[in-house]
Amino acid sequence: MKLHWRKWFRVVHRDFGYLFFGLTLVYSISGIALNHLNEWNSNFIIVRKEITIENPEMIRRDMTKDEARALLEPFQEQKRYKNHYFPSGNQLKIFLQGGSVIIDTETGNGLLERVTRRPFFREMNYLHYNPEKIWTWISDVFAGALIVLAITGLFLVRGPKGITKRGAWLTILGILLPVIILLIYFY
């Protein structure tokens, strides 16, 4: 029996393409987001507001939770109070439900930070960071599938646009790109 390998390659490439469409989007979208983590926080929406405590002399190292809560009243944040501590000599940090306040105990100037989860991207990033053991298996299968997709993709088309002509040049270009980067920056 003759093995129609090209036909099988096409079948595998087509069906793997359908099957792994979702995972490809998960990894590519989160990949872009994580690449630009320093410029854009894709996990959280952080809103910062400068505030001033009118009476910073109220702030003492041994202040109670109620006293710390009272500091938040002018900003209507007292109900979100969680805890507080002094990270350094003249700084007070108050943790809120979904945020925090950091106050200079000498000047009373502070920064109120509200943190909310960024929908969609946070889920994508969560998956990208390989959260659970089962996801290790799924992502390993996906990685294997990408290799299969890459190899089968080389042989989909015959003729002048196939791997023997145009395809060969483009494939070489695609391999050269990481090699050049490695030669410049790594070695």
């Binding site: 359908y18 926080n41 969680k82 805890n83 943790f95 943190v115 053991k133 089962i134």
Partner: protein, 174 residues
């Protein structure tokens, strides 16, 4: 011969392909069931681990003092979460009375990540003590001449540091 792997069964002409299609479809639809079961097992495991949390817990200060002797052993530490990694929640930091003594808690196979909502919460953590490698000394690199390197200058950051690989944790209402 037409080949359909994921096509509806009535389009499949080949018997072998039909079997393969059914097998693949069954496998595909079993994924959510397996995931759900794994999730349930994990929840149960965490609940059990949470129930087994050590009652005799260390403070971050006592942990730091004794960590060297406890490498590889399971310990319980209680402290306030002051920071959870915003990137993947793979680590968090605890303090006790002294805010300068911070213990790094890392995620593990048992606890995959920490939620940022934990910041400000008091938690009890059980985990395995691990030495931290590549500790970046807190030095002013721009002014190396300001850095004294004598025995009196061995502060907290110049000592070997240890983290805890988290096996289980729970928040405590205080």
């Amino acid at each position: 011969m037409k080949i359909f792997i994921f096509a509806p069964p009535n389009f499949i002409e080949n018997t072998m392909m039909k079997k393969m299609t059914i097998l693949l479809l069954i496998s595909f639809f079993m994924i959510p069931a397996i995931t759900l079961t794994a999730q349930q097992m994990k929840t149960a495991a965490r609940a059990t681990a949470g129930a087994d949390l050590k009652t005799a817990t260390l403070t971050p200060e006592t942990f730091q003092e004794n960590a060297e002797k406890m490498v590889g052993k399971e310990v319980g530490v209680k402290g306030m979460v002051i920071h959870v990694c915003r990137h993947g929640g793979k680590k968090m930091f605890l303090i006790g009375e002294d805010p300068d003594v911070r213990i790094k808690i890392t995620a593990s196979d048992k606890v995959s990540s920490f939620n940022t909502d934990l910041e400000g919460s008091i938690v009890m953590v059980n985990g395995i003590v691990e030495p931290m490698e590549n500790i970046k000394h807190v030095e002013d690199d721009d002014h190396p001449e300001d850095h004294e390197d004598d025995d009196d200058h061995r502060n907290y950051y110049h000592r070997p540091q240890y983290s805890i690989s988290c096996l289980a944790f729970r928040t405590i209402d205080e």
